[in-house]
Symmetry: C2
Subunit: 363 residues, 2 copies
């Protein structure tokens, strides 16, 4: 097998899938994993088999790929605002159970108009910003927008959702995941209650990232968690204390192509192989380098150019030209996204080549 390539330890992956399914079951909430981490219908299928109620995606194209792969319950956790995408969602909604996100009056108007023109009713969830300051209506405006949605004949308000990861309400990152998760859960339940006070039903209160899902999912009134990264885990999650490095199921296999200096080994993977969105030395994670070099804990993947990885090694390190190493990436979701295929090992000597089917799509 040529390098660089991304290898998935199927045994670890299945362990991760089952553990999170167990967390959801214990908390009494539904699990709707975000498949952006793997973008592979086959793996989504394994999550469903282990008890997930459905899946989450960020794009219509991802939903289409997953539906084609046999997934029948899909939440597009993203505001769809262009007519063509809304029409694609409506089309998809005829064959699978589909919910789409909405976070603005204008967005609701567009969804409603498109649905009306096809005599359809679109299930929607209202996105609430709980601190990440990206999409999502501010909590204090949620009830008003919910009322508008409720008044539209072609939209059915299913509930509310949020995503925020390991930040607090003011947007600051934190390593106190219990605090972050409980705060996230309580905020969302309070928003749901505000909407219910208007006489509007709120069935779904959906939230939770890999780091916060176990805590947020335990808050009374929460109905669903949507973690994604847990399927593989990564170095960032290990640093957050969510998993051990040994539980990380995805790693990049690379070859040492040069050893030009005593303290430097060059591998055949750079920024087109390892994602660079989780940078070294950034607070609060302060990761050293772009990945964890398995079996060479002192080695630091210090710099990347497009196809070169510069590994600072000890002078005594015996890495030689032609050696193969394995690296757990800082952020697995964006790293998988760089690869056309991954290699899934079944733990019994078998390796299956899987296409990252939903990557690189127009939305």
């Amino acid at each position: 097998m040529e390098t660089p390539h991304l290898v998935i330890d199927g045994v670890k992956m299945r362990g991760n899938i089952e553990r999170m399914a167990g967390v959801a079951q214990e908390r009494g909430v539904a699990l709707r994993p975000h498949v952006k981490t793997h973008k592979i219908p086959r793996i989504a299928g394994e999550q469903l088999e282990a008890g997930a109620a459905g899946i989450t995606v960020a794009k219509v194209s991802e939903a289409e790929v997953m539906a084609e792969g046999g997934i029948e319950d899909i939440f597009i956790a993203y505001p769809l605002v262009t007519e063509s995408k809304i029409r694609r969602a409506l089309r998809l909604g005829r064959t699978v159970s589909l919910i789409v996100g909405v976070d603005s009056l204008e967005g609701a108007r567009r969804l409603s108009e498109a649905a009306a023109s096809e005599d359809a009713v679109l299930d929607v969830r209202l996105e609430v910003d709980t601190g990440l300051r990206r999409t999502g209506v501010p909590a204090e405006e949620a009830a008003n927008l919910a009322a508008t949605i409720e008044s539209s004949e072609n939209l059915r308000l299913r509930g509310i959702y949020t995503y925020r990861g390991y930040v607090l309400a003011d947007g600051s990152p934190t390593l106190d995941l219990e605090r972050a998760g409980l705060e996230e859960g309580r905020l969302m339940v309070s928003v749901a209650d505000q909407i219910r006070e208007r006489g509007i039903e709120v069935e779904d209160v959906s939230l939770g990232s890999t780091p916060t899902a176990p805590y947020a999912g335990g808050v009374e009134g929460v109905t669903e968690i949507r973690p994604g990264t847990y399927v593989f885990y990564d170095r960032m999650q290990a640093r957050l204390g969510v998993c051990s490095l040994d539980e990380c199921a995805a790693s990049v296999v690379a070859t040492v192509v040069s050893r030009p200096r005593e303290d430097l080994a060059i591998i055949d993977g750079g920024s087109k192989t390892f994602a660079t969105d989780v940078q070294p030395n950034a607070a609060p994670l302060n990761l050293e380098g772009f990945g964890h070099v398995v079996g060479h804990p002192e080695a630091v993947l210090e710099r990347l150019t497009e196809e070169h990885g510069m590994l600072r090694v000890g002078r005594e390190d015996d890495l030689a030209v032609g050696d193969t190493i394995r690296i757990i990436p800082n952020h697995v979701c964006s790293t998988v996204n760089l690869h056309n295929e991954v290699f899934l090992k079944d733990g019994e000597g078998g390796t299956e080549r899987l296409k990252v089917a939903a990557r690189g799509k127009l939305e």
Copy 2:
């Protein structure tokens, strides 16, 4: 056309291609563009038509895709060290003119052994490190390695090459491109002379990145330049003073999907759409944000999550949900690499959808 997508202004691209061909001609050197920027055989073909002598790639897989696309003169500017890749290169060398990189004794041994087993002679160029501290033999060791290569019956030493971009010999980045380029050129010519003093012929002295090629290419004794980014240019190159923002031919088209706060607009492209390897606020470029928002110079693409771009906008800014904007990425090479396809506009109303054929490959 759905968003986000990458659009190429064909008129600007052709202008860029012709200008660099003109630079090479004026300096009296060959132009062998690195196609890692676009990874599209059709565009490589346009570079050849405009006068390029051949192309440069970083991977065997890229070479294979380009050969399949009709390109007949290819330099793999990367040390190939695994048997399977070397054999693929040997196979390719039977149908196209091929040169491969080498930068170590062990690498030379492996190339030679594989070539011998097929009774072939492999054309190689010796890579010299001139400051970037990645692959490449240190300058002072080049002559010894050249002598070893020369003594191998199955390797033919064609010359030497380097890449370093806008750094000086000590590895520090600089905005003084003339100094960087002249230094790069003189260093390489002096290495070539050291090798010749051993009685070894050095036909090719190949170097030059988009920022340094015009200067390094003018140094007496240099025979070839290998810039890549110039085909599209990007915000980084504009900041370096190599081009104007208006000459940047590639940009990402995105849609405003949410305008949750007065000072915040959210677009449907994040770190899976815009490369993050050239980070904001990093010296010496100190770029603000992840791209230049065309027509909204005050807007800053401040943060990215995977599918969300957070645009800090003025309170007076009239960007609304559904609006389309165009953003010139910080680093176009790694940004193109995120996309499966690009949309090439011919300037006469026609748009062609081109597959980024050589992206995401195993090497």
